[in-house]
Symmetry: C3
C-alpha cells in the first residue's frame, strides 16, 4: 500500500464550471495504483468541487443560473461586502457544493459513471488560479 | 492493511429516498476489517447520496418536498429540457446533495449515530437501477 | 501505514458555526503521521460540517442568515413538527451541508488553504453536545 500527493493549479475565467477530469485521470494513471482511493481537496472558500453531467453543456448553463439565483449578488442581503458583491454569494455557493471529493480507483481508473465529469466551480467574477490537492492511496 | 471493492445495484421507484444502510453494513461486516474507512460513490448525476434521520418517515417526506420546491419541474427555467422536465432539476438536486460519502469503521461497524441512515436519493420520475461503488480500506 | 480513531465532543450554543480547526489540527499533530488522509464524521442529523472562511466573522453571520432563510422555522411547511419547529429545518440544513469531510495531510498538517476553517454547524436552537469521529490513515 502506498500514497501519493500532488498539487494541481487550475486557471478559471470568472464564474462557472471548469472540467478537471482529464488532469485528475492523467495524474492517477501515472501513479501505478490499481485499486485505491483518490481524495480531491479545494484550498479555497470561493471556489468548490462538483461532479456533474459532462455531456450537454446546457446542463452547466442551467446549473450556473441556479446558483446565481439562489445566492444573488444583492448588496442588501449581506453584511460582508468589503471584498466585492460577488464574495459573499461565492461563500454561500461553496457551502452548498463540495470542498472535497473522494473517489474509488478500480483497475487503475476512477470509477466515474459514463456521464460524470469532475468540475472546479469558480464562484468569483474575476479569473483566479485555484489550487487543488490530490491524495491517492492504494496498491 | 487491505482493501475491498464492491458494486451495489439499487432499484429505485421514482423520486425519493431509498435506505441502503443495511446493505452497506452487511457488506462491511463480511470484510473482516475492524478499523477502517468506507467510501460510497454514486455513479450517476441524477441520483445522489444522503445521510439522514431514519426514525420518522415524515422527515423524508418533508425533505423530498423541500428539494421539489427548490428545483421545480418548470420548463421555463431550464434550457436543458431534451431528456424530460425532471432531468435538469435532477442534476441540481444531485449538486445540492452528495455524490460520495466517507465513513469511518470502528469495531467492525460503521460509526453512524443512533438516528442516522444512509440513503440513495433518486431524482428522476421513472424507476432506475442505480450503481453504487463501495471501497473499504483498513485492517 | 497506520490508522488512528478518535472521538471529539463539541459543545454548541444554539444555531451557528463553531470552529473546530484547532482541535482537529492538535489531534492530527499528535499522531506522528507525515502524509495521510483525515476523515471527519458528524454523528448527527441536525448538526453538520462545513469548511468556510475563518477571517471575517460577518461571513458566518451572512451564511447563518442564508440557511435560516432557505429553511425557515415555518410550521405550515413541514409535516414533521413533533420535535419542535426547528427540527425539520435542521435536517434540511444538514442535507445541504456535509455530514463528513476528507482532507489530505502533508508534512504532518492539514492542507487547508490560508482562509479555510473547519466548522461544526449546529442547526438546533438549544445547546447540544455533538460527537465527531476522526479517522486518520497514513505514515
Amino acid at each position: 500500500m502506498h500514497q501519493a500527493l500532488h498539487s494541481l493549479h487550475v486557471a478559471t475565467h470568472g464564474k462557472g464550471l471548469v472540467e478537471i477530469t482529464a488532469q485528475l485521470s492523467a495524474w492517477v494513471a501515472g501513479q501505478n495504483i490499481a485499486t485505491g482511493l483518490l481524495t480531491v481537496f479545494c484550498r479555497h472558500t470561493s471556489a468548490s468541487l462538483l461532479i456533474q453531467e459532462n455531456a450537454d453543456p446546457d446542463v452547466r448553463t442551467d446549473l450556473e443560473a441556479f446558483f446565481e439565483e439562489i445566492a444573488p449578488e444583492d448588496g442588501k442581503r449581506y453584511i460582508h461586502r468589503s471584498e466585492g458583491l460577488d464574495d459573499m454569494p461565492a461563500h454561500i455557493r461553496a457551502a452548498l457544493s463540495q470542498t472535497q471529493l473522494a473517489m474509488p480507483i478500480a483497475s487503475g481508473r476512477l470509477v466515474l459513471g459514463t456521464w460524470q465529469g469532475i468540475y472546479l466551480f469558480e464562484h468569483r467574477r474575476a479569473p483566479h488560479r485555484r489550487e487543488i490537492v490530490l491524495h491517492l492511496l492504494g496498491e
